[in-house]
């Protein structure tokens, strides 16, 4: 070609266009290649025309792609567009290209020819790799957002919900489709206009912020939440969005409150007998003489203090899972009778005892079983009118011993029932007028379960309550003698529970 001739005809365009043009036969062997392609690859036209095929110039992954996809598609549809290949140049360097190909019949011979255009795609490939990585990263993050128990919400700068994860759906009971476009503040009803202005102001200054407020579930139930807000900025530093992560802290708030109440209650409970001990001791000193009744009060108060401390210690060892039972063959009827006799003496109340004539033995720790029955009986006495009767009934039901304690007292509301066995929980209706730190039922329930048994409660407000302890019977159906098998099983049960 004449070097001095201006670029003007189609041949120039073919040879020097900023893309590679090649013509190959159906089997991939080269017929022609333009100058740009030869410059890119570093091969001479002679070299390519000496039997080289297009697929021979490809790296191995591209060769596989050529065989599996490019060739079948080109053969079947007669063309193929935008296929990514890596060519290996004469120096064996990668040359990323995008290829468009079309099949034509050679007008002279009728043979199939393939006309291909190759575009350099080095930058594009790099961006695409970035895109793939970004997509993978987005998928990973999206999994986290989907799995999170926290509500993760994205809002517009004016606080309208744009995205709403499954955590938010569970927390607020509202589907994403319904939440989208709503004001986020609709779900955080305690945030005032001033609060919101303060939040947006902080976010605009580039800072994020977290505060504790209330969330509202679709059922109108309020929950304690911690809400974190973070800003998103667009070009020119404008606030383009707000991310909110809202965590339900109702439970930890409730535990906090319980612990606070427990401390207050415990201090009060410890102080009452202490005051009594100190008062009577001072009185003794002032009188300068020994009075039997005063010493008895001091001893009673010390016992009360002792029981309280024992309960606290037991509760903490139950909580830590460190406590042992010393099981033996126990006659339930005898233990119940002893507890009844003790409490009758202390309270002066009537406790009606109904016992099955059958033998009722269990494999358990005699002292702990006594504690279970005493706790239930004293609760029944404490929460019922002195004029009413408390009934304890011992029976056998299938393979279980049942001890039911029945009172005609104030009863327990459904709300309180669900949390009755929680540590430090005291039924709301009775918390103010009865003593105790809320450990009794918690301990009782734990002890029953440690014996492989269960504790059921049925109650109706103002009608009374029935607490039923069910424990696995020990020994044969008709006698109190233990079979070795039963003994082993009962021991297993106990050790598993511990």
């Amino acid at each position: 070609m004449n070097e001095n001739r201006p670029l003007q005809d189609a041949v120039d365009l073919f040879e020097d266009a900023p893309c590679g043009y090649i013509v190959t036969r159906g089997d991939g062997s080269f017929v022609r290649a333009n100058r740009t392609f030869l410059e890119w690859t570093g091969y001479s036209l002679d070299h390519l025309q000496s039997g080289k095929r297009f697929q021979d110039l490809l790296t191995i992954p591209s060769k596989i792609f050529y065989e599996n996809q490019y060739f079948p598609l080109l053969t079947m549809q007669g063309f193929i567009r935008e296929v990514a290949f890596n060519l290996a140049d004469s120096q064996d360097r990668d040359l990323p290209v995008l290829v468009n190909s079309v099949q034509k019949a050679d007008p002279r011979t009728g043979d199939t020819l393939v006309l291909s255009t190759l575009f350099g795609a080095r930058d594009r490939r790099k961006y695409e790799q970035d895109l793939v990585r970004a997509r993978q990263e987005a998928e990973r993050l999206s999994t986290i957002v989907t799995m999170s128990a926290d509500a993760i919400v994205r809002c517009s700068p004016d606080g309208l919900v744009e995205t709403w994860n499954p955590g938010a759906r569970r927390m607020f009971g509202v589907d994403e489709s319904d939440a989208r476009g709503q004001r986020i503040r609709a779900y955080l009803p305690s945030l005032s206009d001033a609060d919101w202005t303060r939040i947006v102001g902080t976010l605009q200054s580039g800072e994020s912020m977290t505060l504790e407020t209330e969330g509202r579930h679709a059922s109108a139930r309020l929950l304690d939440v911690s809400a974190g807000f973070a800003p998103h900025f667009g070009p020119l530093g404008r606030l383009t969005g707000i991310s909110a992560i809202i965590r339900d802290i109702s439970e930890s708030k409730a535990v906090q409150r319980l612990q606070y109440e427990f401390l207050a209650m415990t201090s009060h409970e410890l102080r009452t007998p202490l005051t009594s001990i100190r008062g009577h001791a001072q009185l003794l000193r002032r009188q300068g003489r020994y009075t039997e009744s005063m010493v008895q009060r001091i001893i009673d108060s010390s016992d009360q203090l002792g029981r309280l401390v024992d309960d606290l210690l037991l509760a903490s060892s139950l909580e830590a899972g460190q406590f042992d039972l010393q099981p033996t063959d126990v006659d339930v009827k005898a233990v119940v009778q002893t507890s009844v006799d003790q409490l009758k003496g202390v309270s002066g109340r009537t406790i009606q005892v109904e016992m099955t004539p059958d033998v009722v033995h269990v494999w358990g720790d005699r002292l702990r079983l006594a504690q279970i029955f005493s706790n239930l009986l004293s609760n029944a006495l404490k929460y019922s009118d002195p004029e009413t009767e408390v009934v304890v009934r011992v029976s056998r039901s299938g393979t279980e011993a049942e001890v039911a304690v029945i009172d005609r007292g104030s009863g327990i509301s459904a709300d309180d029932l669900s949390r009755l066995f929680d540590r430090f929980y005291r039924a709301s209706a009775t918390a103010d007028n009865a003593q105790g730190v809320g450990l009794g039922l918690y301990i009782t329930n734990h002890l029953v379960h440690a014996h492989g048994g269960s504790l059921q409660v049925e109650s109706e407000v103002d009608r009374g309550s029935v607490f039923t302890v069910a424990l696995p019977l020990f020994g044969g159906q008709d006698s109190g003698t233990a079979s070795r098998f039963d003994a082993a099983r009962a021991t297993d049960t106990l050790s598993n529970r511990n």
């Binding site: 159906g26 089997d27 697929q55 790296t59 191995i60 992954p61 591209s62 060769k63 596989i64 792609f65 065989e67 599996n68 996809q69 060739f71 079948p72 598609l73 053969t75 079947m76 549809q77 193929i80 567009r81 935008e82 296929v83 990514a84 890596n86 990323p96 995008l98 490939r125 695409e128 790799q129 895109l131 793939v132």
Partner: protein, 264 residues
């Protein structure tokens, strides 16, 4: 979703002996368009798309089921069950050769003969075994897939897949055949190129033909040779064709070799 719809099963032909064609990785049943019609007179032709390919039901794609070739083999057996096929002929290309091997081992009654086009029992070299590729090259291939998926996910989005009633739409698509969901293709490639079926070969009872291209970069001659030697009742025909798809590049030869084998 019926099995037949799930795998886009197409049955044709005037014969009774079943001839089941299974396409390889990267394509769909269209691959058999130059070969299958030659058998219409004498056989019952069964064509299908693997789940995730062609016009199969994408919603049936279960990543755990299809994490091994056995999942695909089970699909073929389900198709056989549905169509009540027995003593048929299985024709499998590339990875579907081994899928057919697995199906034939599990239910030997389904296929009396196998025709394996460009089979490989393992693509990766392993000690004395020549598979054609190093482990690194296969890893590179799997990474390279993404370079094309970006284009493919745009051009071959499932949303515009499968409109047989509207051919004009097909003409607008960049690549209208062999549509494969990008995520499925990525996993299918890994399952295909990382599988090792060498121990399965001796367990095949069916009479088998290995159809080998003279030159095939994906399944070179030693690979086809290995497959043939380890199949108890088999023979190999080397086609004077280049490339991994002789049924597209040399359909007449492929048909002739198949017919000769079926006449035996």
């Amino acid at each position: 979703m019926s099995v037949l719809a799930r795998n886009n099963v197409r049955v044709s032909g005037r014969g009774t002996t079943p001839l089941v064609f299974a396409h390889g990785y990267g394509c769909d049943q269209n691959m058999w368009r130059l070969v299958a019609p030659a058998f219409e007179d004498r056989y019952k032709i069964v064509l299908f798309d693997h789940v995730g390919s062609g016009q199969s039901d994408l919603s049936a794609y279960d990543p755990s089921k299809y994490s091994s070739l056995q999942g695909y083999a089970d699909d073929i057996l389900e198709i056989c069950e549905e169509l009540d096929l027995h003593h048929g002929i299985f024709v499998g290309h590339s990875v579907s050769a081994m899928i057919g091997v697995l199906a034939a081992i599990k239910e030997p009654d389904r296929f009396d003969r196998l025709i394996l086009v460009g089979p490989s029992a393992r693509y990766i070299n392993d000690g004395d075994y020549v598979g054609g590729f190093s482990e690194e090259e296969i890893q590179e291939l799997l990474a390279f897939q993404d370079a094309n998926y970006l284009g493919w996910s745009r051009n071959m989005a499932p949303a515009i897949m499968g409109n047989p009633d509207r051919p004009e739409l097909g003409a607008e698509l960049t690549n209208s055949f062999c549509r494969t969901d990008p995520d499925v293709a990525r996993q299918f490639a890994a399952v295909t190129f990382l599988s090792d079926n060498r121990d399965d070969l001796p367990r095949v009872e069916a009479r088998t033909l290995v159809l080998q291209s003279r030159e095939d970069v994906i399944a070179p001659l030693p690979v086809g040779d290995y497959v043939q030697r380890h199949l108890p009742d088999s023979r190999m025909v080397i086609l004077d064709a280049a490339g991994h798809c002789p049924h597209l590049s040399a359909p007449e030869q492929t048909i002739a070799a198949m017919e000769a084998f079926l006449r035996e």
